[in-house]
């Protein structure tokens, strides 16, 4: 079965949508490993905004997909120095017993300052068991769109990143070392620089 055989919306051209095609080899290999166990039920946490494309795509697996819609809460996660720190349990409530096999961060970590980012990752860690995966894109270029945009899973095995190219902000350039420091017990299994400047990370809980 083709990995990306269905899409829930008619594909617009990248130019029309402000979109960029990208291949994400680590993500693709991860999906191939999930497909090797068709009877397995996966628990997936999608930090992005609710997407019919993601729901349709992951419906090929037996899975429970938790949609966190973190992008909708980003203003509450951003910190000014005088503000109290964000409360991850309120912004991303998860039942204590919730465990995830895969967390899809997409590029949302780029939109969090170091302190809220460390709080978010610390909040997620207790919900990841041994062997769990965490996938993320980190922008390495100097600027990025002011909003995270949306990642679509395409039929040809690639992704399309739709975003507003109009307004940009400076990238925080989170380093691999920083991410590993905030994810104790989690190893980088794959890391690749993609053509559009994203560093693709696939982490796994050891």
């Amino acid at each position: 079965m083709a990995l990306f055989s269905r899409s829930s919306r008619p594909p617009a051209t990248p130019e029309e949508a402000g979109g960029e095609r990208l291949s994400a080899p680590a993500f693709r290999q991860l999906l191939q490993s999930l497909e090797r166990e068709p009877g397995r039920k996966y628990r997936i946490l999608d930090l992005a905004r609710a997407s019919g494309n993601h729901v349709t795509f992951f419906s090929r697996f037996r899975c429970r997909l938790q949609v966190a819609a973190l992008a909708e809460e980003l203003p509450a996660w951003r910190l000014r120095e005088e503000d109290p720190p964000p409360d991850p349990a309120r912004l991303l409530p998860l039942p204590p017993e919730a465990r995830f096999d895969l967390v899809l961060c997409w590029n949302l970590l780029d939109y969090l300052e170091p302190e809220p980012l460390s709080l978010l990752l610390g909040h997620l860690l207790p919900h990841l068991g041994p062997g769990s995966w965490l996938h993320a894109f980190i922008q390495t270029r100097g600027e990025m769109p002011s909003q995270p945009g949306e990642f679509l899973l395409l039929e040809d095995g690639q992704m399309e990143w739709r975003h507003d190219p109009g307004s940009t902000i400076q990238t925080p350039r989170h380093s691999r070392r920083t991410l590993e420091r905030w994810l104790p017990g989690v190893r980088v299994r794959q890391s690749r620089l993609l053509q559009n400047g994203f560093q693709e990370y696939l982490f796994q809980v050891t």
């Binding site: 829930s8 290999q29 609710a50 729901v55 419906s59 429970r64 997909l65 068991g129 980088v188 696939l202």
Partner: protein, 153 residues
């Protein structure tokens, strides 16, 4: 209390569906095509059960049981309830858990906070949803063991 003249409601639904993107086909009506409408001025608290399709344009709090029938939350509907129905279509706002025997659809105007269990779930572009979607409610298998090929750059 209930407006059982279905034509106006279904015409309104048809009109709105003509303008919405990627609108799914309306669920096949059950109970001989009968649909009850809870109008926009109605507020209802408690347990709601029925043997016909239901369109809610008002406010409902509690639980909704229409296991063999179709439930539609219209654009003006405001629901705080757990709902059980054959198909559930949300065009308005709903806070609660949804169990659909066949399908749950959140349209572009729909806003849902809660958990969904259904064999098929459709989120239209523009729909707002926060919660979990269980598309296969079979018992869970043991923890993940396989690993893809590792390659660090």
């Amino acid at each position: 209390m209930f407006d059982k003249s279905k034509k106006a409601a279904s015409q309104q639904e048809e009109k709105s569906s003509a303008t919405a993107p990627l609108q799914p086909a309306p669920p096949k009506s059950s109970a001989g095509g009968q649909t009850t409408t809870i109008g926009p001025s109605i507020r209802l608290n408690g347990e709601l059960t029925g043997e016909e399709d239901l369109l809610i344009q008002g406010q409902v709090e509690g639980t909704i049981h229409l296991e063999a029938h179709n439930l539609t939350v219209g654009e003006q509907g405001r629901i705080k309830a757990n709902a059980f129905a054959r198909t559930i279509t949300v065009r308005g706002e709903l806070v609660g858990d949804l169990t659909g025997g066949e399908k749950v659809t959140i349209t572009a105007s729909g806003r849902v906070r809660g958990n969904i269990v259904a064999p098929k779930v459709i989120l239209e572009e523009g729909a707002s949803f926060k919660g979990s979607i269980d598309m296969d409610a079979k018992p869970e298998a043991p923890a993940l063991k396989t690993t893809p090929k590792s390659k660090s750059a």
